[in-house]
């Protein structure tokens, strides 16, 4: 366990010792802030069918952050180590491949969550800067952050996998972005393709990330979606592990 924790600390330190980590968090906040201000402008005085918290995640900014943020956060995990030649050094230390993969994933996930953390201040900022703010439901915030965590874990696991495939950070980022965008666009199949009684419609609904996020932001936690994202995360971590292990026999 100790080597794993040491590696996680090393990963996190890597983010916060470079200026890039702060730029990523600041960009997150800028995009979220922009989304927030635009939402307030459109909703000001207008009756909404849903709480502000739900409306906030209905805008495209959340997906933009996820699609762009995950590649930027994870591109360095393996690719940078391989490029700078520290990967082989790392793998000769008495740590298992699994520990390395999990530590890199955990480090990027913690960084991702830290980047979202300032968003928790939004309800309080709004409370002191609005006239008739409807009460904000803590349950909604919990489920929304559960959604953010699950989506993030999946995209970051995918990013770790992409990073393990190459020595070039840019290529890793592009692979992650392409995979992420592809899976995101699959969400719209349930909207584009007319519903039929067969299994296809159920499958489209099951992989519709937009619909899943809508549920999380409404305060509804569906165990199907939790299993879906956790299993996708595990699949990509497993694939990453296999790629890391492949250096032994390739």
């Amino acid at each position: 366990m100790q080597p794993y924790l040491t590696l996680v600390r090393r990963e996190l330190t890597g983010y916060f010792n470079s200026f890039l980590g702060y730029v990523i968090i600041a960009s997150f906040q800028l995009l979220l802030g922009l989304s927030f201000v635009l939402l307030l402008k459109s909703a000001d005085g207008q009756p909404l069918d849903m709480p502000v918290t739900e409306k906030f995640f209905m805008t495209g900014f959340f997906w933009l952050i996820l699609l762009l943020g995950a590649p930027v956060i994870t591109m360095r995990t393996f690719a940078l180590e391989k490029f700078s030649g520290t990967f082989e050094t790392l793998m000769t230390t008495p740590v298992s491949d699994l520990q390395v993969v999990l530590a890199k994933f955990t480090g990027s996930l913690l960084f991702y969550l830290l980047a979202w953390l300032p968003t928790l201040a939004y309800p309080y900022l709004l409370r002191y800067n609005s006239i008739n703010l409807p009460p904000i439901d803590p349950g909604t915030i919990v489920s929304t952050f559960l959604g953010i965590f699950l989506f993030g874990a999946f995209y970051l696991a995918m990013g770790c996998f992409a990073s393990s495939l190459t020595r070039a950070q840019v290529v890793a980022a592009m692979i992650t972005f392409a995979l992420g965008l592809g899976l995101f666009l699959l969400s719209f199949l349930s909207i584009i393709v007319p519903a039929t009684p067969g299994w296809q419609s159920k499958l489209y609904a099951h992989i519709s990330m937009v619909e899943h996020m809508r549920d999380f932001t409404r305060g509804m936690v569906d165990t199907r979606f939790v299993v879906f994202y956790l299993s996708l995360t595990l699949i990509f971590l497993f694939l990453t592990l296999k790629v890391v292990e492949s250096r032994r026999w390739k």
Binding site: G33, M50, N129, R224
Partner: protein, 494 residues
């Protein structure tokens, strides 16, 4: 190393490990797929927020879970319409609750003209039809239009403050549940409103004491409404499952009372709402059924919002008020008359009379009422928990053929509380729903509280506040993070 063992870098070893990895990846993917398959078949939806918990009322859950036949729902809608989101979300919740009996088909008439035309022909919709939700079960159809799904606030338009009609509530659950109930119910229920004695106007939805909204409630629940004049008919028609007498003010003649008596003796169902102005001559008939009317009106100063209103939260043990008692929801009545269970010995075949609601122990039955204003006299007026409404039920009557099963009545000492003004106050609407369903023997609908309105969320930010927020979220938070980064960088460098 054994001389016979292959070299660890040999192509054979590589292929062996590669195949092993491939198999393990396929096996892992298969396990994850199976896990997802199982998760999709055995899932739970955990509501964490209050809004999600209130998503579907107990009543809706009961209706959906007890569907006898499959119901097809067609969402014939333009996704760009404002209400598409809440409507589709709500219908999704419905289908998730009973996926075997409910199916949802979404037709976007803007991008699917061929399919839209098919739907129009199938359901005989007019050419300009749009934004509808169609419910179908065994050929029985009910259509809910977008215009019905909102409740509007027109108070500002009436007062001249604004020309804007604001949508104040979304009525989706109420209408969808009743539509499903209607199409899935093999019976057609009929209720008659008695007319000719100064009753509340069942068609008037605008005046405070009209019964238009109450009529809408009945229609929403698949009950056909018709007027009935006892003067023009020999008997109450046999297909009348429920007779409603809402606040009569003029006396009934003997012939009419006889007709009512015959109706009740044949297992009729009566919802009788009297008020402090009612002097109908029905007292003698009701005394036969074990019900007495007290004199005057009941006031309850500790439980009042005004001189005339009485808040009632003390309920008897009866299905009509069981859900209200459980949820501790009060009723708001206007100057109710005492309605009592008749004192004296009761035979085995006597009607079962249950007091549904009583005033608080501080209630006063005021005898002196002038111009609608009660004038209590502590010396003479009775004080205590005074019954304000009763339910009556009687099984078989000797030598009488009961056309409709057992006789049932709900008798209340106030009729104004189900008028347009007060129907939505306190739990009055829920009481009306439960009383009607008990009278119609729809026991499966008595367990929960009826669908409620969904409130809209309005947020108002002044210009100054918006400026503050803009600075904080666009400059403060990102700038703060960058500043921290610069400090770290500076410290590490120097």
């Amino acid at each position: 190393m054994d001389a016979d063992s292959p070299n660890s870098f040999s192509p054979g070893r590589k292929w062996g490990v590669g195949t092993n990895t491939l198999v393990s990846v396929i096996a892992f993917l298969a396990v994850m797929t199976m896990l997802n398959y199982l998760a999709s078949r055995h899932f739970t939806r955990l509501p964490l927020s209050f809004a999600a918990k209130e998503q579907l009322s107990t009543l809706t859950v009961q209706v959906l879970q007890s569907l006898p036949e499959p119901v097809k729902i067609i969402l014939y809608y333009d996704p760009d319409e404002t209400l598409y989101g809440p409507v589709s979300q709500l219908l999704k919740e419905y289908t998730l609750l009973n996926p075997t009996r409910l199916s949802l088909d979404v037709v976007n008439y803007v991008v699917e003209p061929a399919k839209a035309e098919l739907i129009k022909n199938q359901y005989k919709l007019p050419p300009q039809a749009k934004d509808l939700v169609i419910f179908e079960c065994r050929g029985k159809t009910k259509i809910v239009a977008q215009s019905d799904l909102s409740d509007y606030d027109i108070s500002k338009v009436i007062s001249g403050e604004s020309n804007e009609v604001k949508r104040k509530a979304f009525l989706g659950e109420r209408l969808f549940t009743s539509a499903i109930r209607t199409v899935a119910d093999p019976q057609t229920l009929r209720a008659a409103f008695l007319v000719g004695h100064g009753e509340h106007d069942r068609t008037n939805s605008l005046s405070d004491y009209g019964y238009g909204r109450f009529t809408s409630l009945l229609r929403e629940n698949g009950i056909q409404i018709s007027p009935l004049s006892l003067a023009e008919t020999n008997d109450v028609p046999a297909d009348t499952q429920l007779l409603i007498i809402a606040g009569p003010t003029r006396a009934f003649d003997l012939g009419e009372i006889d007709k009512l008596d015959r109706f009740l003796n044949k297992g009729g169902r009566l919802f009788l709402l009297l008020n402090y102005q009612s002097r109908t001559g029905l007292e003698r008939l009701l005394s036969k059924w074990g019900v007495d009317f007290g004199e005057g009106v009941v006031v309850d100063e500790k439980k009042s919002r005004s001189n005339s209103s009485v808040i009632v939260g003390s309920y008897g043990a009866h299905p009509v008020v069981g859900a209200l008692a459980q949820a501790q929801l009060p009723l708001q009545l206007i100057l109710p008359r005492p309605v009592l269970k008749r004192a004296g010995p009761q035979g085995a075949d006597a009607p079962q009379v249950v007091e549904l609601a009583t005033s608080s122990p501080e209630g006063i039955a005021v005898n002196d009422v002038r111009d609608g204003v009660p004038r209590p006299n502590p010396a003479t007026d009775p004080v205590g928990a005074i019954p304000l409404m009763v339910a009556v039920e009687k099984g078989s009557i000797k030598d009488v053929n009961l056309d409709r099963g057992s006789t049932r009545m709900v008798i209340t000492g106030d009729s104004f509380f189900l008028g347009n003004k007060l129907l939505e106050a306190a739990a009055n609407r829920d009481f009306a729903w439960h009383a009607v369903n008990w009278l119609l023997d729809r026991s499966q609908l008595l367990g929960g509280i009826g669908p409620r309105k969904i409130t809209e969320y309005t947020l108002t930010v002044t210009q100054g506040q918006m400026r503050n927020l803009r600075w904080l979220v666009l400059a403060g938070l990102p700038g703060g993070v960058l500043l921290l980064g610069a400090l770290v960088w500076f410290r590490r460098r120097y």
